[in-house]
Symmetry: C2
Amino acid sequence: MDVKTLCLGILTFGDATGYEIRGYFEDGPFSHFFQAGFGSIYPALNKALGEGLVTCRAESQDGRPDKKIYALTPSGREHLTDDLSHVPADDKIRSEFLVTLFFAPYVSPQHLEDVYDLYLADFERNIEKMKNLTGGDIPGGVSGDIPAGQAFVREFGMHFYQSIGEFLRDNRARFIAGVEAGRSPKADPVQGGGA
Amino acid sequence: MDVKTLCLGILTFGDATGYEIRGYFEDGPFSHFFQAGFGSIYPALNKALGEGLVTCRAESQDGRPDKKIYALTPSGREHLTDDLSHVPADDKIRSEFLVTLFFAPYVSPQHLEDVYDLYLADFERNIEKMKNLTGGDIPGGVSGDIPAGQAFVREFGMHFYQSIGEFLRDNRARFIAGVEAGRSPKADPVQGGGA
DNA sequence: TTCGATATATATCAATTCGATATATATAAT
DNA sequence: ATTATATATATCGAATTGATATATATCGAA
């Protein structure tokens, strides 16, 4: 499953431009479980076009580059169902935040607290973002009557942010104290008040 | 923050080969928040060697290729602390599982249940894996006295698997029923009992 | 009012990462 | 006897990331 397949899936909701497709990843319903930017979306659409999975019509605009509106072909729809019939690969998670905490002795106390609080703030922001993400925000979606799969994925995201956010709040003080207690004055990678 | 930095971090626990480093990602303490395979680790070590961040000594073996044992240099340690002093990038998550659920109408009922149950089984397996992951399993780590940062990251992982696992179990029936209720007999992307 | 930020829209490119494959042998399990 | 797993390194094409380039319009702040 690659970005191309995701684009085909998004096109089942209706014709769209590459720019609009990015919206699904940026702040849209995919943002909490799949990331993709222009650098992967545009090549994916071009490849799909070459394979006959989508069609493309251009629409002139003033000033801006022509809009290229993509539409799913029957072959593209078939490719999507084929791909979805495979067992999905394991989740891939990359958290630089947890890397930083793992190597806490090499980070200054101040930076460690900053990093923790910025991460927590991200969680609060993501919860708000998801709350406002209903059917109406899904271009081509059905307003107020979200299909079960989409609703479940959204609830999954809400639960994730709320549960992990709570864990982060509950354990902040204990974590910071534990790291500081572990810093021995000598042979310490980072000096107590240093950079 | 890239795989090279992660390798430097791992080398703070002691000298190691590329093969041993991979163990940290494969089943070790990084497995739930950072993935890296040989294809990124070996090039990363070579690059680090070229930049003087690590040294390398070869050790002959019978049959197998020579062991190449890497050791952190002061410059490498400095590179690590520099990198850790930056604000970490946002978490990147890629879940093909959630993509499959999102596009549930394009998946056969049987496959959908299989996918769900396989994913749940992965969670149970990961919880067991993390339970057995103590200081002693961290090469060079201190047995029975895990540093606070490492302990926190492990607890984070445990909490994640337990909380999300519970959500998945609690909502399985409702999700499956919701998807099936949403399948209209006509204009249905996938026939009820089909492929 | 002018400056910077944001939004609209596409495209490309170097660097990084992924996933598979290749090469060998030993041992453990079926 | 055969298959799978473990030890160990290396490479390569394909996919992805993150930054940059190109234009214009608008909107808010200084």
